[in-house]
């Protein structure tokens, strides 16, 4: 049942570091995070790692396992052979703080740049009505657990730090798309997503979709439709005209932010 797992874990901080080798006892059914925890409890008390729910719900324990961006809590040891060495390194696109912990403040800065939701007034009975089909698209995007694996993987910023100021990244394209598709929002964020958030820099290679632990179809369902909406806005003169005619909830009555 149990066996001794060979682990290589990156240890170090901003000034440098390297892979340390460890052997740690593991049991049936365990995940990489279990092995890391056992290491911490028995051999490396100061090993820095983020985690919370240990069930794929909070998106804290993102790392690269044998080079693949993944959640440690959802990576089962059973997916590797017993003799395999498992290498765990911090997410590469963010500056290392220590060991497996990186400085993800880039993402929190980008979050601040998205203009917030601005709904239409409530119905007379104080409630709001939206149909399930109309909220479903946004609901898919709101499954995002902010593990930032997509941000880490996106080749626009991976190894291209200089692109970060002008590029919000897939996580926030999801957010722009969610708001744009919200049945009750009154803001038009298309220009902003194109200009300030750098939607145009994405050339839809789908790396983000591949690493999303929630299985959100980031490229197909958010980025591509958002790009189409941006294109509509750019070239469709009727949109402008329409803003004088359509009622609330219609695209044309949204206010550009």
């Amino acid at each position: 049942m149990g066996y001794e797992l060979k682990l290589r874990v990156w240890r170090g901080d901003a000034s440098g570091g390297g892979l340390n080798e460890y052997a740690v006892q593991v049991e049936e059914g365990e995940v990489v995070l279990d092995a890391i925890h056992r290491l911490q409890a028995t051999q490396a008390g100061d090993l820095a790692v983020r985690w919370n729910c240990k069930a794929g719900k909070c998106g804290s324990c993102s790392a690269e396992i044998n080079g693949r961006p993944r959640l440690m809590c959802m990576t089962r040891l059973a997916d590797f052979a017993e003799g395999d060495v498992i290498t765990v390194t911090p997410m590469r696109s963010f500056p290392v703080i220590r060991d497996l912990v990186t400085d993800v403040s880039y993402n929190y800065e980008k979050a601040r740049e998205v203009p917030s939701f601005a709904p239409t007034p409530r119905d007379p009975d104080g409630k709001r009505r939206m149909m399930q089909v109309d909220v479903e698209r946004g609901q898919e995007f709101r499954k995002c657990i902010e593990c930032f694996l997509c941000q880490n993987t996106c080749h626009v910023v991976r190894d291209h730090d200089h692109n970060k100021p002008a590029f919000a990244g897939p996580r926030f394209f999801l957010r722009y798309a969610e708001l744009d598709m919200h049945p009750l929002d009154t803001n038009d964020r298309r220009k902003l997503s194109q200009d300030a958030a750098g939607l145009g820099m994405c050339n839809i290679t789908k790396c983000c979709t591949e690493v999303c632990p929630e299985g959100i179809k980031i490229t197909d369902n958010a980025i591509i439709p958002m790009k189409e909406r941006v294109a509509d806005r750019k070239y469709d003169p009727v949109v402008w005209l329409g803003s004088k005619i359509f009622k609330r909830g219609d695209r044309a009555s949204r206010e550009e932010v």
Partner: protein, 640 residues
Amino acid sequence: MTDTTGSPDTTGSTAADAPTRHPMTGNRLTAEAAAEGHGFEEHAYDVVVIGAGGAGLRAAIAAHDAGARTAIVCKSLLGKAHTVMAEGGIAAAMGNAYPEDNWKVHFRDTMRGGKMLNHWRMAELHAQEAPERVLELEEWGALFDRTSDGLISQRDFGGHRYARLAHVGDRTGLEMIRTLQQRAVALGIDVFMECTITEIFKTPSDEGERVSGAFGYWRETGRFIVFKTPSVVLATGGIGKSYRVTSNSWEYTGDGHALALRTGASLINMEFVQFHPTGMVWPPSVRGILVTESVRGDGGVLRNSEGKRFMFDYIPEYFKGETADNEEEADRWYEDKTNNRRPPELLPRDEVARAINSEIKADRGSPHGGVFLDIASRRDAEFIQRRLPSMYHQFKELADVDITAEPMEIGPTCHYVMGGVEVDPDTGASSVEGLYAAGEVAGGMHGSNRLGGNSLSDLLVFGNRAGIDAAQTALKSSNQSLQVRDEEVRAAAERALAPFSIAGGENPYTIQYNLQDLMQNLVGIIRKSDELSTSLREIEALKERASRLSVEGNRQYNPGWHLALDLSNMLLVSECIATAALERQESRGGHTRDDFPGPDPHWGGRNLVLTLGDDGRVELRHQPLPAMPEELQDLFEAQP
């Protein structure tokens, strides 16, 4: 460890380039004035909220809206607090699914679920205000599942007369925390993330003493930080990490409970710990991870190794009138709640957890020491995947179980603490001026047992109330000069650094492990007088060992050190639980005594209140329950 203060500093924010922004959080930092005063980073706010779960975020939003300069401090990154894990939903009598539902029915369900030990006024405010708090989330961008006429959909949960949980699939907590987080960010509220508060300061005031500030450390750098503030809102969540099998994360070390005690406030109802009936049991690494009650709300049933729906054998007298006693009626209830009684699988959690425990003890359990939770044979795969996507995912990925095709193995897991800081129901104020508590860290609202879905609504209702009052208190006291004395700050820093100066001492991970075993075995679901006495002796021994903790490494992002500091909170809170559990000689809600198996009206009229004596010992006193006004009492005479 020789040089603990000069740990590598990746922030680059030395005195020379101040003021600058913290690279992790984007918050403004003042330069550390190394030569004068206490020498640590210092901030001044009207309200400091400790905790960024539902309660903390809602409190901060309310305080901000009331005009207070507000800060949020939290141990993890923003958006990762426990609230993110909540699955099933938010209880609010909006009447969208059943127009017959209203706050009175919700109030009554809540009180009965808590076996009447709830603070009636909290239960009343909660039931009255929850609907508006939920609608407000929608205002801020939440996308709840809808009814066919476009309203917020409401689902069934244990102990609730009508379907009333607003939800988003089975990831309601994620929706709630993201909505509140995005709102707080939009309002520009300062957030200090990965920052842990270890002490609260007080200053002399007209009435004696009042809150004046707080002390903590940045996890990233290990550097200290001081807040000057007249109002602190504790929104730190629960205590579950003191148990071996738990649905709770590393953050649940009872910090807020312990901070409150040390600041001079009191705790109530600490003997009541909720064991959720359905946690995963296999494989061992996921033992304790929650399986949402929505599985039962959506039609799942519990079976033992003989395939029997055993809950029919465990319907207590108290709930007979409202619980179906045969499978046919129970199954009809999902479609028609007006003419049928609720299935026994949806009894309050304490009842179901005890029943499962008894089945396992009687050798009718599942192969890995649980019982079976079966929805596969009762609902089609499409329904299950739509209603319970995250449960489907969780079992598939972590246990290799397809819940649309086979039953789950589940067993009780430590989930929630009903006990907490004793607060004024209307304002969330504790007995210490300027100290507030809201959310799971506050006590009273849920009595001896919390109904599912009533926590998320509790966070919103009382987070909001505490935030408003904390702001008002702060704005009133702005002319009062707040004192945070340098000596106190330096002493707090010394206490925090102590584990670095002991060589060859105890490993904090080992002590935590021992504490978890002890609490699980001696202060668990079923309790006995002698075991509780033993637990108190053993906690005492662990405390002694914990006074000699050693940690390796330096101050930069060092989980061993963080745990060393959390441990004293865990030990203190565990002592409170065991002390109150030993005292209460009856069984009620989340407190079951093998030696006193039934409820006792004498105990039904009193709360146990815990405080910290000058000598650092936990003190306990009895306090009569607040009397419920007659018009509310009448609600319990009407209908079953």
